[in-house]
Structures are given as structure tokens and as C-alpha cells.
């Protein structure tokens, strides 16, 4: 039998896990819609609360696991599992204005009190977004899910930045880590967080 690379083994694992990742994503999205309904029903005309979910795609999951290894290479003599990732299933709650975060955060925290906090700092000692990961125990004890509560402008900026920086055109490879880009990113995030 020909030698299989770690990446090939992880791809096979991913497609075995995929139906379960989808179920966890649907479950978490549905639960969060339910838990935040009391806020959504009272929104003023200019206020918004959007809920977006995603299943982490196969190559992103493998790359995320690879980024956790020093030197960003897999050890061919070791075994890895994508289930060690905290966000195979993900839900993002986007809120405008940002001050509404104060209402949504405790509601969800109460429902997911055993989930692990992984807050996103804003670079000035404050908090940019709330992030938690854990298990939807009724559905899966294997797939970790993540939910984020993010000011809408920050979340929309992340969406643009993600497609430009993490899956870049070869000509832009590495630009996301340049000091100039970090400076610009910090400026946008501090503006959007207000």
C-alpha cells in the first residue's frame, strides 16, 4: 500500500466527521437563534442582530491544525486528529450597535456556562469580541463548536480580511503578517469597536 501523508489521513477523517460537524453547526445555530430571540424581537429600526454559521472546510481545518505545530509541519510518525480543533462548527453573532453586546453576552453565557472562553483582545487592553468553545452534548461529544459575539463592523471587516489574508492570491502571500498591515488592522478594529 502506498505511503499516506498526514494530510491525506486528515482529509479522510474530515469526510467521516462531516455529517456530525453539520449537525452540530445546525444545532448551535438553532439554539443561539432561540436564546437571542428576546433581543431580536425588541430591536429598534436601526439595530441589527445577525447570526451566521459555518462548517469549517476541509483544507482550512488541516491548515489550522498545521498552524498549531511549531515549524508548521506535521510529524509523519505521529497521529493527529481534527477533533482537537475548537471550531469545526462555528456560529457568529453580529450585533449593531456594539453596545448591544452587553445584552447578548450574558444570555448566551448562561446557556453555555461550561464552555471555554477565548476572548479576542483589541490590542489596547480591552475586548474586541467574545469567543467560546465547547460541546453541544445532546448532539456530539466529539466535535467542538465555537460561538462568537462580535460588533457588526468588526465582524464584517473580519470577513473581508479573512478572504484577503488567509486565502490570499500568491502575490499577497504573507502580507497579513506585515507590520504595516497589522497597524491598519488595529486602526480599523479600534474604529469599528466604538
Amino acid at each position: 500500500m502506498p505511503e499516506r501523508f498526514v494530510e491525506d489521513i486528515l482529509r479522510a477523517e474530515y469526510f467521516k466527521l462531516l455529517p456530525e460537524i453539520r449537525r452540530v453547526t445546525w444545532q448551535l445555530e438553532t439554539e443561539i437563534r432561540y436564546h437571542t430571540s428576546s433581543i431580536r424581537h425588541k430591536l429598534r429600526q436601526y439595530e441589527q442582530l445577525l447570526i451566521r454559521s459555518r462548517v469549517k472546510d476541509c483544507e482550512s481545518a488541516i491548515k489550522a491544525l498545521q498552524r498549531r505545530q511549531e515549524g508548521r509541519v506535521f510529524d509523519p510518525d505521529r497521529s493527529y486528529s481534527l477533533t482537537s480543533l475548537p471550531d469545526l462548527a462555528g456560529v457568529r453573532v453580529l450585533i449593531f450597535p456594539g453596545s448591544k453586546l452587553k445584552a447578548a453576552h450574558p444570555l448566551l453565557r448562561k446557556s453555555y456556562s461550561d464552555w471555554e472562553a477565548d476572548p479576542v483582545p483589541d490590542g489596547a487592553g480591552g475586548l474586541l469580541a467574545h469567543k467560546y468553545n465547547g460541546y453541544c452534548h445532546d448532539i456530539s461529544s466529539t466535535i467542538r463548536a465555537e460561538y462568537q459575539i462580535v460588533p457588526m463592523l468588526v465582524g464584517l471587516f473580519w470577513e473581508v480580511e479573512h478572504s484577503a489574508m488567509y486565502k490570499p492570491d500568491p502575490a499577497l502571500m504573507g502580507i497579513g503578517k506585515s507590520p504595516e498591515m497589522n497597524q491598519l488592522k488595529a486602526e480599523v478594529e479600534s474604529f469599528a469597536a466604538v
Binding site: 498552524r67 505545530q69 511549531e70 515549524g71 508548521r72 509541519v73 506535521f74 510529524d75 509523519p76 510518525d77 505521529r78 502571500m173 504573507g174 503578517k177
Partner: protein
């Protein structure tokens, strides 16, 4: 400052490995190692002699034989 030290010693940042690499000296520092060690320590490691024709990797966790093989393959 650490970046400047490495740059002056001809270490180039390899984006897809997050490592500072000097192919002539056959030495490489992981990003984690650079972040977690002082400038003085970094200078000492830069001054250390190369390991002949073998690569020398400075990691927080000593790379396994498998990781060494993979890195040597991708770094050339």
C-alpha cells in the same frame, strides 16, 4: 528589535513555516522560539557554529526526527 537582529544576520522570514531561516548557515528559528527568548539568547544562538551539512533548528520543543526530515525536505 529581534526581527532586526535576525535580518542583519541574513535570516529571512519564511511565511508558510513561520520561521526565520538562513539557508547558507543551515539554521532556522521558529517564531515561537523567537517570541519566547531574549535578544541576548538569540544573538548567542546566531553566533553558534553551523552543524556541518545538517540543519540546526531552534524550537521551543525539540523537533522530532520526523519533523526534522520534513523541514529539511521543504527547506532544501
Amino acid at each position: 528589535m529581534k526581527k532586526e537582529i535576525l535580518h542583519r544576520a541574513n535570516y529571512r522570514y519564511v511565511f508558510d513555516r513561520d520561521m526565520y531561516v538562513n539557508r547558507d548557515a543551515k539554521k532556522a528559528f521558529s517564531l515561537e522560539y523567537v517570541q519566547d527568548h531574549s535578544e541576548e539568547e538569540l544573538l548567542q544562538r546566531i553566533r553558534e557554529a553551523a552543524n556541518g551539512s545538517n540543519w540546526r533548528f531552534y524550537f521551543n520543543s525539540e523537533p522530532t526526527e520526523g519533523v526534522r526530515r520534513e523541514l529539511e525536505r521543504v527547506l532544501g
